[in-house]
């Protein structure tokens, strides 16, 4: 099967320092949208009332390209970002494929890498990637992806980026187009 790839740029960020207050578990109000969201410090994720992972407004973007995928095929997602600050060990690069909707991002496939970032006074570029194998029970609406980097010691702030409608999922029923009669003759 062919390996399909998607690339995302998470931009630039620094280390999580004293300006960042660690959040206690509980309900919060998103200042941008007014939506009630729950913070779970164990997963370092915000969740919506419906249970989807909350992705703040503005982090999901229209996909610059679409990748067609069917069951058994592999999808490689590559991210890039820049980091400057003290050395960080154990930062998490997180990748997810799922359904983004009114109630947040419903994660269907997730993967993660652990990353160590050396100390630097100037922003240095990094890349990370994860390869998913599309399962046979893939839903036709699993067409959104998002990635983030967070955690580590000292912790880096959670930085997210996602694409809507990045995937075209090909299901078990054939889709036929350009159906034409080429010729007919006696045999």
């Amino acid at each position: 099967m062919e390996l399909k790839t998607l690339a995302l740029d998470l931009g630039s960020f620094g280390v999580l320092q004293e300006r960042f207050v660690l959040l206690a578990p509980g309900w919060y109000l998103d200042p941008l949208t007014g939506q009630r969201i729950f913070y779970d410090p164990n997963t370092q994720n915000f969740y919506t009332l419906a249970g989807g992972v909350y992705i703040p407004l503005g982090y999901m973007n229209p996909a610059p390209k679409q990748v067609s995928l069917g069951p058994g095929e592999k999808l490689k997602i590559t991210i890039s970002y820049k980091y400057s600050g003290p050395a960080v060990s154990g930062a998490i690069e997180y990748f997810s494929v799922g359904v983004y909707g009114t109630f947040g991002f419903n994660e269907q496939l997730v993967g993660q890498n652990t990353k160590s970032l050396p100390a630097s006074t100037t922003p240095l570029s990094y890349t990370g990637s994860y390869t998913f194998t599309i399962p046979t029970n893939v839903g036709a609406d699993w067409n959104d992806i998002y990635c983030k980097i967070y955690g580590g010691s000292p912790s880096v702030p959670q930085t997210l980026f996602g694409y809507e409608n990045a995937l075209i999922i090909v299901g078990k029923d054939p889709a036929i187009s350009e159906f034409t009669i080429v010729d007919f003759a006696k045999v």
């Binding site: 067609s68 995928l69 069917g70 069951p71 058994g72 095929e73 046979t136 893939v138 075209i168 999922i169 090909v170 299901g171 078990k172 029923d173 054939p174 889709a175 036929i176 187009s177 350009e178 159906f179 034409t180 009669i181 080429v182 010729d183 007919f184 003759a185 006696k186 045999v187």
Partner: protein
């Protein structure tokens, strides 16, 4: 800059004898997540004031395997069907359209007036069947006339 758009040419009408086998070649693009098999069907149809009517007795079938493909993939297929003579419940002499479709999908291609059928013998059976409606009417008249005469006689007596 010369901008050319290529479109499939319309099929030209062809003549066939009743009883001939016709091979139809179709092309299409498809995507599917798993290896699968689709059934293609082809047959002649006639058109009257009530619309288009497929001649079911002539419809041919062919199963085509489609390997899994997540990007549009070109495929061709052949479907054979026989122009069953009218004496066996098939097509009469005349002009028919050609329809091909994929079972369970909305993929269909057709063109009017491309199959010209001849060679059906005008046998005794055909003459009999064409006269059947007239014979039936005569028989019914024969049954109704005596009844109306009886009713008329009864009314006069009353």
């Amino acid at each position: 800059m010369l901008d050319l758009v290529l479109t499939p040419m319309a099929l030209s009408a062809r003549e066939f004898n009743a009883g001939d086998t016709v091979r139809v070649t179709v092309s299409f693009s498809y995507t599917v997540g798993i290896n699968t098999t689709v059934r293609l069907l082809a047959g002649p149809y006639y058109t009257n004031i009530f619309g288009k009517h497929l001649v079911d007795s002539c419809v041919g079938r062919a199963d085509v395997s489609l390997p899994a493909a997540s990007t549009p993939t070109s495929q061709t297929a052949d479907i054979d069907f026989t122009l069953v003579p009218k004496s066996l419940g098939g097509v009469d002499n005349g002009t028919y359209g050609l329809r091909v479709w994929v079972e369970g999908t909305n993929a269909v291609a057709e063109q009017d007036s491309v199959i010209i059928v001849f060679g059906n013998a005008a046998g005794g059976g055909d003459v009999f069947s064409s006269m059947m409606p007239m014979l039936m009417m005569l028989m019914m008249l024969g049954m109704i006339m005596p009844m109306t005469q009886q009713m008329g006689t009864g009314a006069e007596e009353a």
